[in-house]
Each structure stands twice: as C-alpha cells, then as structure tokens.
Symmetry: C2
Subunit: 195 residues, 2 copies
DNA sequence: TTTAAATGTTAGTGATCACTAACAGCGAGA
DNA sequence: TCTCGCTGTTAGTGATCACTAACATTTAAA
C-alpha cells in the first residue's frame, strides 16, 4: 500500500480506505486495518471522520471524477465517425479506469447504493450525448438512418463490457489487447453505419 | 422470499442463502438471517452444512448452469450470420440470467474468487467457439476477412456489458429494450462483416 | 407402540466489529 | 516557556458474528 509520508493523516486514511475497500469490500475491511495501512492509530481515523461510513463518503467526494465527457462532446468532436468514436472510447476507458476503485467499492456492497449515483451518474449523460451525436451525423447524411439510441447504447455496452471484464477477471480472459479491441469495434461501427 | 413448503430443509436453506447473499453479499447476511428466511432454526443450518462457507459451496454446486453453449454450437448453427448470432446472443442472456444470483454473490466478495471459476468458466469456452465460428464463416466467404478473435470478443463484451448493466442498475439507464438492442447490434455485425 | 433420526429451543462460547473514554506525549506558534 | 491542537496508547464498551453443547420435541418408519 505504502501511502506516502508527505501526505497528512486525513489523506493517508482516505487512500488506504479506497485501496482496501476496493479489494475487500466495505464490510470486508475493518477500521483497524485501514488505520494500520495508513500508518496512523485507529483513534485518528475516528477523530477525523467520526465513522467508517463518513470515511467512505469523504473518499468518494474527494477522489472521483466526472464531467469530462461533456467537454469532449463540446470541444473535440470533428464529425468524422472513426475519429470521434476513438476519442470518445478512449476517454470513456480513461475515466472508468480512474474511477475503478470507487466502482469496485459500491459494486460490492448493496447498502452503499446511495453512493452509486455519485460514482455512476455519467452513463446516462453519456448516452444522451452519444445519441444526439448519432442523430446529427444521420442528418448530415454521414450515417445511414438507424435507431440512434440503440446504436448509442450498443457502443456504450460494448465498452462497458470490455471495461468490466478487465476489471473483474484481470486481463486473463482473452489475448486481444484493448488497442485491438478499440480498433476492431470502431471499424465495425464505421463499416456498418457509413453509407 | 417465501421458500416453498414442499422442499426439504436442505433445499430451503440453499435457496434462501442464494437469495440473501445475492442481495446483501456473503458477509452481509448472517446465518441467523438465512435460517429465518428458510423457516428453520439456525441449528439446522449448521447440522446440514457445518459452516456458512460450506452452505455457499453447496449452493453453487447445486444451482449453477453451464455447458449448454457447447450444444448450441454443435447442433443449432445454420451458418447464416444473423440467425446464428441471434441464437447465440439469446442463449447467452438466458444462461447469464439463470446464473444471475451466483454472479452477484461471487462479485461482491473477493475472498470467494475460488468459486468464481465455477460460475464463470464458460466465457473462455464461448470465446473460443465464437472465434472458430467467425473463422469458418470467413473461409466460406460469408464474412469479409477480419481479426476473428477481436470480433468474437467484441460480440461477447457487447452482450456482457448489456447484461451487467441491467444486472447492476436494474433496467433504469435506457429506454432501449433488450429486444431492440439485440436486433440493432446483430444488424451492426451483419452490415459490417458481410461482403 | 416403540424407536431413532431430524429438528427446535435455549443458552452460551470466543472472536471480531465499530466506536469511545481517559490520559500522555508531542511540536509549533505565542 | 507556556499552551493548544493533534496524535498515540490503552483499555474498554456493547453489539454482532459464526458456531457449539445439551436437552426437549416432533416425525415417521418399524
């Protein structure tokens, strides 16, 4: 774990909590364990956060990312299907990977579903933006007319499946690299949807 | 929960354990809770299974499905891409849905990864069969030449993502039905890969 | 009816959990 | 130097956990 010495105790505890909870689940790790991993006493944990749940909430507040997708759709789209899908796909995997541990934590404990919204609200937003993107591309006759919403969710589920597979079974299932997958899947969309 | 009265105590306990563990995780449910849900005393649980972990292992042994995909590839393939992908996709979702609770249980507890192999060994098998299917279709000139393995994993991840999304966030994320998704995604493969 | 196996009841084990009280050591700013 | 806020240590709370011992009760086959 090795939470660096340059951090203050609060941050050491937050990072240790994220690591351990992502590995063993919220219920699977004790406050004593977290404090030990952070290199502080258990009392410091309670003095700083009051309760185990507060600690997790503080961690989610502090170390979770969102809103970048919006920027990409607003500024980086060039209205070329291959280019745009690659950009969106790469951004998606980057964001999901940064939120990896958070996703694992809320995944493992049903009672934490209140936090799930925070760490997983973007999918809905992404689906809307992607649907609008496909619709616009169709209006510009750059894509054949299809159910834009279904295409959007297909693209998302494809990448979500890839991410979750790597997340849960750790690389081992296939010899296909993420790079190959991205190229192949985008080529699939391009061949199928361009006139 | 309402585990029927016609079952013997062993099966009542197995079903209650599966339900509760899928909902609250292995650690999230107590033996007392499981016994109560099964309508028997806690002692009956320990007399039948010895330990909580034995109970889960017995449940996985008894109520998990696999091997059907093999039969489909051996007997039901007609070498028409749309027909075959629809069949495979539907079978995939049926199998995953039947194993739904098992998947949730092992998902939520890292220490149960020993059981994960049992309930998730088919993906690797499926990927092989699907890759061989695409290769054969290419040799028959029914598909354009592409990276068959990448196509196979793309098809699987697409459906895995759809399944996991429904499993974890319960229908709510999109208005696209499973039926629409299947049609749209298979049409995607057909348009992209047929000459 | 007798008998034996399965089950229920009760009360308890020791371990672990989240969390607290009380006090002592410490370093930095005054 | 004094003080104050942060920290560590120790010892503990009461709750819950998986699991057990001992005995009473039910059930069904013989």
């Amino acid at each position: 774990m090795e939470t660096s010495d340059t951090l203050n105790n609060r941050d050491k505890l937050l990072l240790a909590a994220i690591d351990l909870m992502a590995e063993k689940g919220y219920k699977g790790v004790s406050t004593k364990e977290i404090a030990a991993a952070a290199g502080v006493s258990e009392m410091t944990l309670f003095r700083n956060f009051g309760s185990k749940l507060n600690l997790l909430e503080a961690a989610v507040d502090r170390y979770h990312y969102s809103g970048e997708m919006q920027m990409i759709f607003n500024e980086k789209i060039v209205w070329d299907l291959r280019t745009d899908l690659l950009l969106i796909g790469q951004a998606y995997h980057e964001i999901m990977n940064r939120n990896r541990k958070m996703i694992l934590i809320v995944l493992k404990d049903h009672e934490l579903s209140g936090l799930r919204d925070k760490s997983q609200k973007h999918p809905r937003q992404l689906q809307e933006m992607l649907t609008n993107y496909f619709k616009t591309m169709q209006q510009q006759s750059k894509l054949i007319p299809t159910n834009a919403e279904a295409q959007a969710i297909t693209f998302m589920w494809m990448n979500y499946g890839a991410f979750m597979s790597k997340l849960l079974s750790g690389e081992s299932i296939t010899s296909v690299t993420m790079q190959e997958f991205m190229e192949s899947s985008i080529e699939l969309f391009a061949r199928a949807l361009t006139p």
